[in-house]
Subunit: 348 residues, 2 copies
DNA sequence: CTGAAAGCGCTTACAG
DNA sequence: CTGAAAGCGCTTACAG
């Protein structure tokens, strides 16, 4: 009448079989007679037997846990991605362990130590760029790894199309007759190395050039300060320029908020006097009626997790790169530029 | 020249000791000669040895992982709490596994199965009420459990003071001369059973009664729809009442947003014609200049995690209940009621 | 199809 | 202070 958790031995004894057989039915091995299988299952049920995770780990040298390294777990973009990841992992035998990174020190630890501790079977890395040596380490001794919102040729990844996103934003503004278009974002030299801003910035420039609009340095501004505060700061700078922009493209929605706030404070009408466009389409954007570029945030998480699960299931070494489309969501913060309205001429 | 991960045997051999000794220095046991300890440490360093998590688990029957059951991982409140939890767990030997609950089905699984699978050493439950039988199960067979933003007499918990929070909000409005004060929130019968709304509602009523203000049923409204949409819906109902309220207390900031939106749409001036007050003080609140009740969200997470760690460390059975203070943050969405302005008389 | 046995890599009395 | 050995609860060839 021991009330200890039953083990595989208890099941085997009661079912009158060897533990090997119990193990086989547990793992759905094909070579078990149907009658035996049923008897064992029956006993498992009766005993309320649950196999020990730890023992299984030790015997198989698998951990059944997936690690996800995610920066600034508190920002809407990352939360949404994480949610997508969680949705697909929850349905599997895997556990999801989250490692939040907010400093370079944490990043170093999680990227250089964690993967080699044998604590995880698979790794998901969100938005964090990898150095070549980290990738090599990972490939040599680390678990299968999938990148989300980042890219490296040697690692399976899923991203959204940042180039197209920025292009769509700019072309939308051009179509509205804007020519003095500024771009802002958090620092291009982020301590954690985020690279998407550069990608979007590049696209901003190329799009302007393509349309023969001068690319002005003074219209490109960056702030160490993330989010609203940063956006407000930069918008204030831009709005006090002699030739101030008629449109501001913020590389994330939170900074777009800051722009709106700065405009409000300066009594500048949006969208009449200033068009504002954001990036991400976090929930807030629709509330503020913000025109923005929508990224499939949860979907990126779901895809990333699914790709990792596939690798884990079939051990395939094939590197896959998925790039998800983005979408321009036109709301109330963009309108034809005053110049445009005066001339009443369509740009294209 | 095997490139396999070194085990405790490799260390023992190279250091010329038994594996027991290696284990002792690994676990900081006191009874090891200093010289021996140093030699072993040296070898561990040289070999880059890392003890196997799985083996340790199996031998100690501890898992070194803490589970946290959290509803709607995407909402600002929960994200902030989670971040607090993460901050304290990250510095320990424990892993943090997150279980996101969005349906009663998931709740049932995570509350009734997960704790008894031997996968976690400790459990944190956020905002989810427990039935008596769940608590008994937990106490009998489950891991040490700490409740965050919920209460049960038999389980250590940390909450903020919801009663005081609602009282402060209402008294602030009363002081401004408001008497027609409505309260809104997401449904009182939430599928996941959230109870804080009832607590705050109770305090709303008592506070009004205390001040001899009639408590009207039509001024208390609830929506299945969470957040902005729900808030907007309820605000529209309230604003179309014959005798419409001069102030609305939303039991969470997201719904307060919806109220602001409804007011905007109806061209009702906030705060002149309608005072609005929220709850939580999520980041957004300051952007929208929303008067609100600030809860120490991350701090609740930190406290909860710390309490759990303490239990895990000393095995204490003592049940502790912490209640953290909240704070009224007065911003721009509350002002004296027009009546008050007319009479120019202070309420107290 | 199935059982007996080795092995996964630790911890922990036990005996010295 | 330290070594040898048992034990944690599984999986997996191996032999039948």
């Amino acid at each position: 009448m021991t009330r200890n958790k039953p083990t595989i031995f208890d099941v085997a004894r009661k079912a009158g079989v060897g533990i090997g057989t119990v193990s086989r039915v547990l793992n759905g091995a094909p070579n078990v007679k149907q009658a035996t299988r049923e008897r064992v299952l029956q006993v498992i049920e009766e005993l309320g037997y649950r196999p020990s995770h730890a023992a299984r780990q030790l015997a198989t040298s698998r951990t059944f846990t997936i690690g996800v390294i995610v920066p600034f777990i508190t920002r809407a973009f990352f939360v949404e991605v994480l949610r997508g990841v969680e949705q697909v992992i929850a349905g599997t035998a895997y556990n999801l362990v989250i490692y939040n990174v907010e400093t370079p020190r944490q990043r170093a630890y999680y990227l250089e130590q964690l993967p080699f501790l044998g604590r995880i079977d698979g790794l998901l890395i969100i938005s964090l760029p990898l150095r070549q040596r980290d990738v090599e380490q990972l490939l040599r001794n680390g678990p299968p790894t999938v990148l989300i919102d980042e890219y490296h040729p040697a690692l399976t990844s899923v991203q959204s199309d940042n180039t197209a996103g920025a292009r769509m934003a700019i072309e939308h503004l051009l179509r509205l007759g804007h020519e003095r278009i500024a771009v802002i974002g958090d620092t291009l030299n982020h301590p954690l190395g985020f690279r998407i801003n550069r990608e979007r910035l590049g696209s901003y420039r190329r799009t302007l050039e393509l349309h023969h609009i001068a690319v002005r340095d003074e219209y490109q501004r960056w702030s160490e300060e993330y989010g609203r505060e940063g956006g407000k700061l930069l918008a204030n700078e831009l709005l006090s320029l002699t030739e101030r922009p008629t449109a501001i493209f913020a590389l994330n929605d939170m900074m777009a908020l800051g722009v709106l706030e700065a405009a409000r404070d300066a009594a500048i009408q949006v969208p009449q006097d200033l068009a504002v466009i954001g990036y991400d389409d976090i929930e807030l954007a629709s509330y503020l009626n913000l025109t923005t570029v929508r990224q499939p945030m949860s979907e990126m998480g779901r895809r990333g997790a699914t790709l990792l699960l596939n690798i884990l299931a079939d051990g395939s070494e094939q590197v896959i790169h998925q790039r998800l489309p983005v979408e321009l969501v036109i709301r109330g913060t963009t309108a034809p530029s005053s110049k445009q309205q005066a001339h009443s001429s369509a740009q294209e």
